[in-house]
């Protein structure tokens, strides 16, 4: 009984951690907009916790480069299971226009497994919210497969 309540609650309480990898801050501003009263993601139970140990979903923006890839991996490792990763914006998905720069490794999925890709430059807040909701569905699926 508690087990099914716990499973249901995972989708109802996704705590996010937002990490700006190498972003120009365009996508980050849009992520921030989601937290404001206009878009109000808290009605889905989403809280922006700053701490990977408390987070379920990792929102990553920007390209990964040789310096911040260690940080990204470290943050991902410090998140307890079950967890999901959402790459936001063109840069996060594939590296965007900066993909061939000498210091850029590429998109987020070069370092950590990504569950949802949210395209855009910058991605719209509605798209980000859509992405998180899709991520929750994948969450539930992952947990089912794990059991």
């Amino acid at each position: 009984m508690f087990g099914s309540f716990i499973k249901k609650s995972r989708a109802k309480s996704p705590w996010i951690m937002h990490f700006d990898c190498g972003s120009c801050n365009g996508c980050d501003i849009e992520v921030l907009a989601c937290l404001t009263p206009l878009y109000d993601v808290e009605r889905f139970g989403i809280i922006n916790v700053g701490n990977p140990k408390h987070a379920d979903v990792l929102l990553v923006t920007g390209t990964v480069n040789h310096r911040n890839k260690k940080v990204l991996k470290n943050l991902y490792d410090q998140m307890p299971e079950p967890k999901a990763v959402i790459a936001i914006g063109a840069c996060g998905n594939t590296g965007g226009v900066f993909r061939e720069a000498y210091n850029v490794v590429g998109g987020v999925d070069k370092i950590i497994p990504v569950d949802v890709y949210v395209p855009g430059c910058p991605a719209k807040p509605e798209a980000i919210i859509d992405g998180v909701v899709a991520g929750l569905a994948k969450f539930a699926q992952k947990v089912e497969e794990a059991e």
């Binding site: 990977p52 940080v71 470290n74 410090q78």
Partner: protein
């Protein structure tokens, strides 16, 4: 029974002489161990025989014991005066000369030399004998390996341990004599012997700072001795007898006698290092740890509060009583505040000791059955927990070479067993259901009736204690590598530590029965009834045994849950993703490793020792003047 009394007072003297004159360390070790065992058994035997009315002590080799005490008294004053000359201290010389002069006047002119039964054993005396004999013995046993290591550390060629153990063991006999005294002059004599022992032991290491602090302790305690003599004389002028139980039975008897009792309380204040006399106790922390544990936390300073507590019936319901309560509460809150600004482990313990002694004195001043219960039980529980903590700090200091609590961070990684015992010791000083907190609870409940000053100071002091204990306890905890073994300690070190630790817990659990068997008969009206292992009264109740069960089972459950922690995922702490390989280190500027560093908040802008001490000293002097003046 008189054999037991003889053993308790005179055996330590004999053992001390053996320790001094026989220079073999094996004989010394055996003597100390043997004395410890005999004292413990004797004190338990005395308890088993129950309370006894004042009995007379006969003569030794044809000389009356009273005369012997008088001779030894003057000899002692002579020795202290000589020490004052040697260290060029006018204060010591002055106070000792004054004491001698007044004593001569008293003995020759005033005293009528009636026979006074010299020793008595009511419940308070028996409890004190137990505290002194058992805890004192454990500390002496601990001192055996400790002093060996201490002298190796100092590279001493000629061992000074004979002198050390002479004064340490002698002191136990003096304390036993003090608490069993029924004759004020005897009490005064043993009081002064403890002053001398304290001086000798503080200055044991013969460094410049040790000598300086020993001299300061001596003049402050000499002042206390002078106050004792003045008080003794004033009380005799009215009461006409040296018999303490007769004086107590008569109760308050007018301004002259109460002033005398006030001076006796002042003597107790100096011995217990109350504000403004606290500097001698803080200075005494330079002495080796067994000295700090025995004299300056569990026993000698308890002699000071014992004097105040013993004479409580003589000033019940007087202005002096209120004054004593206010002075005690003032020390309680000020020393708790001063402890917050300290990072030196022994100084924290010293300030905490003085603070708790202030609480005991405050309870004695409140002078209701509830408060007196709190005072006596606090003496017991504080002695056990505080001596445990001092011994732990001593052990830690010898292991890591520092007594600063910042250096003890994460000690659990290196010395798991000692760190755990220290944490348990800290928790017994701070939290329910343990005895010290129970006594603080009783004190607040008793103080709620008195006046707004006392209760406000008690409330503030209670809050301040949480800060300095909790942060020390927390900083000792840390991560331990999987394959570190528990540290090896000599058995004579770990045995006292574990016995005191277990004793603190078991005694707290047994507090309802201790109350029922010892304290309820001692007080006129018993404040509590015991049922289901709880102490109940109309004003409140403390559920000792139920809480022990609930919290104890809870902690055991939590410990079991925590024991399997290696099966869960172990992760370094969150450091913004910049964790380096080791726990707590992170990658900083220029890709270099930045090691973990932390410090406690000592709130220096509010609680710095230098800033607060002058203000507190001035206020305390004012309060003492108020207390004494109001008695007249």
């Amino acid at each position: 029974m008189s054999n037991l009394l003889l053993l308790l007072i005179l055996l330590p003297v004999a053992s001390a002489l053996v320790c001094y004159f026989v220079r073999s360390s094996a004989v010394r070790k055996l003597t100390v161990l043997g004395t410890a065992v005999v004292l413990t058994l004797a004190s338990l035997g005395l308890l088993a025989q129950g309370t006894f009315e004042p009995i007379a002590v006969g003569s030794f080799l044809g000389i009356s014991s009273d005369f012997l005490i008088t001779v030894l008294d003057f000899a002692l004053l002579g020795v202290i005066f000589y020490l004052g000359l040697k260290h060029k201290s006018l204060l010591i010389q002055g106070f000792t000369l004054a004491q001698a002069a007044l004593l001569v006047w008293f003995e020759v002119v005033m005293l009528e030399h009636d026979a006074v039964p010299a020793l008595m054993g009511d419940q308070l005396a028996l409890i004190m004998v137990l505290v002194i004999s058992i805890i004192g013995s454990l500390i002496c046993v601990f001192a055996i390996p400790y002093m060996k290591e201490h002298e190796e550390h100092l590279h001493l060629k000629k061992s000074r341990q004979p002198r050390f153990f002479f004064y340490l063991v002698l002191f136990l006999g003096a304390m036993n004599g003090l608490v069993l005294s029924n004759n004020i002059l005897w009490m005064y004599f043993f009081f002064e012997v403890s002053t001398l022992c304290s001086f000798m032991l503080i200055g044991h290491d013969v460094t410049e700072i040790a000598t300086k602090n020993a001299v300061r302790a001596l003049w402050m305690n000499a002042l206390g001795g002078l106050a004792f003599v003045i008080g003794m004389m004033l009380v005799y002028m009215k009461a006409g007898t040296l018999d303490i139980s007769a004086i107590l039975a008569a109760g308050p008897q007018g301004a002259l006698m109460i002033t005398g009792v006030g001076f006796l309380c002042l003597a107790g204040f100096t011995k217990a290092a109350q504000v403004p006399f606290q500097s001698w106790l803080l200075g005494a922390m330079v002495a080796p740890t067994p000295v700090s544990a025995l004299l300056h936390s569990s026993t000698m300073v308890k002699a000071g509060v014992f004097v105040v507590l013993r004479f409580a019936p003589a000033y019940v319901d007087t202005f002096l009583s209120t004054g004593v309560a206010i002075c005690g509460a003032f020390t309680f809150v000020t020393c708790a505040a001063l402890a917050i600004g300290q990072s030196n482990g022994k100084k924290i313990l010293a300030y905490s000791t003085i603070s708790n002694l202030g609480l005991i004195i405050c309870c004695a001043g409140i002078n209701t059955p509830l408060a007196l219960t709190a005072a006596v039980m606090l003496i017991v529980f504080h002695a056990v927990s505080k001596s445990l903590l001092f011994l732990c700090v001593g052990t830690i200091e010898q292991a890591i070479g520092s007594r600063d609590i910042e250096d003890m961070r994460g000690l659990y990684a290196k010395l798991p067993r000692t760190a755990l015992i220290t944490v348990i010791g800290i928790l017994t000083m701070l939290l329910p259901p343990f005895g010290v907190l129970m006594c603080k609870w009783m004190a607040i409940e008793a103080g709620a009736d008195t006046n707004i000053f006392v209760i406000t100071m008690l409330a503030l002091g209670s809050a301040l204690t949480v800060v300095y204990w909790a942060r020390w306890g927390g900083s000792l905890m840390g991560s331990r590598e999987q394959d570190t073994r528990t540290e090896s300690q000599p058995m004579l070190t770990s045995l006292p530590l574990m016995l005191l630790c277990g004793g603190a817990i078991v005694l707290s659990l047994a507090s309802p029965w201790i109350y029922n068997s010892m304290l309820a008969p001692w007080l006129g009206t018993a404040p509590f009834t015991v049922s289901f292992g709880s102490l109940n009264s109309t004003t409140g109740s403390f559920a000792v045994v139920p809480l022990f069960l609930a919290l104890g089972l809870g902690v055991l459950f939590a410990a079991k849950a925590a024991a399997g922690f290696r099966k869960v995922k172990i992760m370094p702490p969150y450091l913004g993703g910049a964790n380096s390989s080791t726990d707590g280190t992170y990658i900083g500027p220029m890709n270099g490793d930045v090691p973990f560093a932390a410090g406690n908040m000592y709130l220096g802008e509010l609680f710095a020792e230098g800033k607060l001490t002058p203000i507190f000293n001035a206020l305390a002097i004012a309060l003492i003047v108020l207390m004494l003046g109001g008695a007249i």
